[in-house]
Amino acid sequence: MKTTVVNIVTPDGPVYDSAAAMVSVRATSGEMGILPGHIPTVAPLAIGIVRVKTADNKTELVAVTGGFVEIRPEQVTILSPSAEVAEDIDLARAKEALKRAEQRLQAKKDGIDVKRAELALNRAINRINVKEGNI
C-alpha cells in the first residue's frame, strides 16, 4: 500500500512523525482528504483535528490550532503554533479551559476580547474531542 510521510511541527519541536495511508485535515476552505501522490499544495488550517489513517488501518488523532499544511506527493507537513496528539492531552485541563472560556463569553463584560474568548473556546472543544475520540 502506498503511504505518505506525515510530519507535524510546532515551534516547540516536532509533535508527530509517521507514515500514513491517508490524512484528513480541516482547511479554512473546508475538509481536505490527502492521499499519497497528491499534487503540491499549500492551505491554511482552521482549529481542528488532523486524522491520520495508518497503513494498518488504525486512525490517529492530533489536535492542531491553526497553521497550515504543505503537501508534496510523498510528504505532508503541518506547521502549527501548537499541536497535541491524543495521548498527550490533559483532559482535566482542557475542560477547565472550556469552562473559563464559556464563563468569559457569558459574562460579556466590556473590554473582553470576544474573538479571543471564542478562539480559546474552540481550542478547548477541539482538544476534548480529540481526547475522547469524537470525530
Binding site: V9, T10, P11, D12, G13, P14, A27, T28, S29, M32, I39, P40, T41, V42, A43, P44, G66, G67, F68, E70, R72, T77, L79, P81, S82
Partner: protein, 284 residues
Amino acid sequence: MATLREVKQRINSTKSTSKITQAMHLVSSSKMARAERNAKKYVPYMNKIQDVVAAIANGTAASHPMLVERPVKKTAYIVIASDRGLAGAFNTNSIRKAITAMEDRNQSKDQAVIFAVGRMASEFFTKQGYNVVDSEIGLPDQPAFADIKRIARTAVGMFTDGQIDEVVMCYAHFENAVSQVFMERKLLPITDIAPATTNASYEFEPSGEEILEVLLPQYAESLVYGALLDAKASEHAARMTAMKNATDNAKELINDLTVLYNRARQAAITQEITEIVAGAAALE
C-alpha cells in the same frame, strides 16, 4: 597591617561567596545546555516555514503589506534582555544595541516604540522616558512559544495597522558558550526571503494572498520566538562566564589573603619572641 582576625574573616567571607558563584556557574551551565537543545528543536519548524514562505513569495505574484517597505516614520524595537543581573554585560549590551540602532536611524525618543522582554530592558527604557508599549517580564528559563505570542502578536498587529513602519529585534545571538554576538535584525517588513530551495510549484488553496495572510504573521511570530530562544541560550552562557570569572577571582583573592594572613601571623610570633628576649635581657 590588618589584624589576624580581620584577615581570617575576609578569607572566610570570600570563601562562602565563591561557593555561591561556583553553584551559580554550574546551574547556568546546565540551563545553557537545555536552552541550546530547545533552540535546536525549533530549527525544523523554522526551516520548513522559511521554505514555504520562499516558495510562495517567489512563485506567485501575490503581495502582502508585510512584504512591502514603506517610508519609516516610527520604528518598533523588540529588545530582549533578562530579568536578572549577574550576567556580565549581557543586559547592557542588548540595550546598547537598541540605542545604537536608534542612533543609526537618527531617531528621537518619540520615533521609537519599545517592546521590552525582560525586566532589565523594561525598567531601563521606562526610566529613560521611552515609549514602552508592552513588556514581558518573568519568562521561564526555558520559554515555550505561547509565552512570547502575546508580545509578538501586538508588534505584528501594530505594523499591519500602520502605527509603526518597521520592527527591529535587538538580542544576543548564541554562537558558543564563550561568545555571543549582539545583533539587530529587521523583523518587518520581511525583505530577506531566501530563494526557494524546493522547485515544487504549489497549488494554493484558496489563493496565494489568503495563505500569505495566515502565513506571514505566523512567520514573524516564530522569528520572535527564535530570537528569544537564541537570547536565552546567550543569557545562560553569559551568566556562566560571569560566574566562572567571579569564582576564579575569589580563588585568587583567597590565595592573596592567605599569604597576608601567614605573614601577619609570622610577624606576631616574631614580635612576641623579640619582646621575650628583650624582657630577659633587661633582667640581666
